[in-house]
């Protein structure tokens, strides 16, 4: 029993990080119906900003979190302004290829500055509690708690504030919303800022859990988070959160009970089956094309 609970705890930690990154994908898709493939690399930039804050300014945990969030938000807004905005009327493919290009640029830019994997010193004290055979570390508690808090805050922003209402309006009908006086450009920038800053937080948390960072770390994690967002229903914020935890749970529990070599095979097969039976994801709605 304690073995299962330990694995569940591991899954919650991993799932929290996937969920935070998935939120970035889902928010951008909800507003622009565009997949921001550079998001995984923005997550990587968040981790590197954390590394720089610690290396250059010796900042404590909360301060590095703030620096990463602001830094990635700024980068996200800049990318949106210069790379995605000019392509809003262009075919979807152009926007996707641009996103991939931006991702490659970020990877290689970071590679040029820092080819060696870097080590992040521990910002959270290594405190471990042992309860009934389960090891719980302070780091795990911080990751899970912080992620849940941020997700609740995001949900509140989207459901209870004017900006959130504007986001939902634009995602509902992009043509009519500006006619109603919604400042589309500003709201899109805000969406990118929030989405990428969550990716930045995920980067910091990931860097603290797995303290060796390199320029390519965002690729695989980005893809997995994207898949979580799709499984949960792309465009749906609560769906992204659920999708992230589902993927984390499946990955960890597959290893817990089957030979670990089958992890990716079984995890992605299960997700494939899920999408066959629910093509729009768990909380997604079929897109209705009004004539």
């Amino acid at each position: 029993m304690s073995y299962l609970l330990q694995q569940v705890l591991n899954a919650l930690q991993l799932g929290s990080i996937y969920a935070l990154i998935a939120l970035g994908y889902t928010m951008v898709y909800g507003i622009l119906t565009m997949i921001n493939f550079a998001h995984g690399d923005l997550f990587m930039v968040g981790a590197f900003l954390c590394f720089l804050s610690v290396l250059l300014f010796k900042l404590p945990f909360v301060a590095t979190l703030v620096v990463s969030m602001l830094g990635t938000a700024l980068l996200g807004v800049t990318i949106e302004r210069f790379a995605y905005k000019p392509l809003r009327q262009a075919p979807r493919v152009s926007a996707i290829i641009t996103a991939l290009g931006v991702g490659l640029f970020l990877e290689n830019f970071t590679l040029a500055l820092s080819p060696y994997p870097k080590h992040i010193p521990a910002l959270i004290p290594n405190v471990i509690w042992v309860l009934g055979g389960i090891s719980i570390s302070l780091l795990q508690v911080v990751v899970i708690a912080l992620s849940l808090v941020l997700m609740v805050v995001l949900d509140l922003i989207v459901r209870r504030t004017m900006v959130g209402m504007a986001m939902r309006a634009i995602s509902w009908d992009k043509t009519v919303a500006p006619l109603m006086g919604v400042p589309v450009d500003g709201v899109i920038s805000a969406t990118f800022a929030i989405g990428t800053s969550l990716g930045g937080v995920a980067g910091v948390l990931y860097a603290l859990c797995y303290p060796v960072i390199d320029p390519y770390m965002g690729i695989m994690v980005g893809w997995k988070a994207f898949i979580s967002a799709v499984v949960g229903g792309i465009g749906n914020i609560r769906g992204a959160m659920i999708g992230g935890y589902i993927l984390g749970m499946v990955e960890i529990l597959v290893v817990a009970f089957l030979p670990s070599t089958y992890r990716d095979l079984v995890a992605f097969a299960l997700l494939l089956v899920l999408l066959v039976f629910r093509p729009h994801g768990i909380l997604g709605r079929p897109a209705v094309q009004k004539v």
Binding site: Y3, Y210, S260, T261
Partner: protein
């Protein structure tokens, strides 16, 4: 007038094309190096490049390499494989066809050495890998027969895996072992399997044999499984950027057993990334800088003088690869790819920085000793020797 001009242009162009043909005596010895300068193990590539440049500089400072009856300058071409298998292969292609090298040294990690070795083998160009220990690198993938053009400067994993299994049983007194290895990488997988086989043959039990895929960062599920199996030693035959994460996560989960490593641990970067978490653990490798033979001391001094730090096993093996190449060139008497390969195939004994190498008849894998090092006080310290 115009027609004559056109004919003149055509003649000049054809002449320029043909100027490239014909017997050209080489004016320098061109050697290629493929190293992992960027990607997941840049410390390995960096060591390799530094040792290669040092070896070439020493040869050129001595007036060049005497091949046949002429002194030739040695030209070095270093290519980056960026930690990718396909780029390894294309780097080999570039060195062979564009740079026209007489031989290639590298790549180092097995999963990059194998693709490059296949290009070298099919192009009939000599390739010496300094650090790849998996037997597959010098064996043809389809027939299992030894490749003719691929050699190495290090021992192979069937030997290394046995050494480590015996060390775990005799020195660490372990009867129950767990292994966590990268299933997508030939080196890790190969040596993990040899370790398991030897450990079980000698009466031990491998209680957990867990895997992950290259570039994974989260090992919590596998390590929780390992913790449940309660091993007395955990074998981690993985590269220097992954091992610190594995050890840290294992400790956080409450695993108290000691960890054991293989030659992939040998980089100083491991200490930088791991810190205190790696104190007191053992691993096997190719040479120990603090008890090196007299032949090695000269190299270590020159390396320290040129670059400031101590050379690691990759640097020492690269230097030995160049030593082997130098000997082969001098015995061949001419700068010819086939001749150099044939001369190297005849070498039976070589005394290098990393110790004595014996090449058995028809085998391109040297028989050498291994050393076991201990991580003590943030440094690699000699612990024991293991003869073949």
């Amino acid at each position: 007038m115009k027609k004559a001009g056109l004919v003149f242009c055509v003649v000049v162009m054809v002449g320029a094309l043909l100027a490239g043909c014909g017997e050209k005596t080489p004016s320098a010895v061109r050697v290629g190096v493929i190293a992992e300068l960027t990607g997941d193990m840049p410390a390995v590539g960096e060591s390799c490049r530094k040792a290669a440049e040092l070896a070439v500089k020493q040869m050129n400072d001595a007036g060049g390499l005497k091949v046949g009856d002429k002194q030739y300058k040695v030209e070095l071409f270093v290519e980056d494989n960026a930690g990718k298998a396909d780029q390894s292969a294309s780097a080999a292609q570039k060195l062979i066809t564009q740079k026209k090298v007489v031989a290639i040294v590298g790549p180092n990690a097995t999963r990059y050495a194998i693709p490059a070795s296949e290009i070298a083998e099919s192009s009939k160009v000599l390739l010496i890998t300094p650090w790849s220990t998996n037997p597959k690198t010098t064996l043809d993938a389809k027939t299992g027969a030894p490749k003719k053009y691929v050699f190495r400067a290090c021992f192979i994993d069937p030997f290394q895996g046995r050494v480590l299994a015996r060390f775990a049983m005799d020195s660490l007194k372990a009867r129950r072992a767990a292994v966590l290895y990268d299933v997508a990488s030939d080196y890790n997988k190969g040596i993990a399997e040899v370790f398991k086989e030897t450990f079980e043959q000698n009466g031990g039990k491998v209680v957990a044999f867990e895997t992950y895929t290259t570039n994974d960062r989260d090992f919590s599920a596998q390590l929780t499984k390992i913790r449940k199996a309660d091993p007395q030693v955990v074998f981690l035959p993985n590269y220097y950027s992954e091992v610190p994460l594995q050890i840290q996560q294992a400790k956080r989960l409450g695993i108290k057993a000691p960890f054991l490593g293989s030659d992939s641990w040998g980089s100083q970067e491991l200490i930088k990334l791991c810190g205190k978490d790696c104190e007191g653990y053992y691993f096997s490798t190719h040479y120990a800088p603090d008890t090196a033979a007299p032949a090695a001391l000269g190299f270590i001094e020159a390396f320290k003088a040129a670059y400031g730090g101590m050379p690691d096993d990759v640097a020492a093996l690269t230097y030995d690869s160049f030593g082997l190449l130098k000997q082969a060139l001098q015995e061949a008497g001419k700068i010819d790819r086939q001749a150099v390969r044939d001369a190297l195939a005849k070498v039976q004994k070589y005394e290098g920085v990393t110790g004595d190498m014996q090449f058995r008849e028809g085998s391109s894998d040297p028989v050498k000793s291994a050393v076991i090092l201990k991580i003590e006080g943030g440094k690699f310290v000699y612990f024991a020797n293991a003869k073949p």
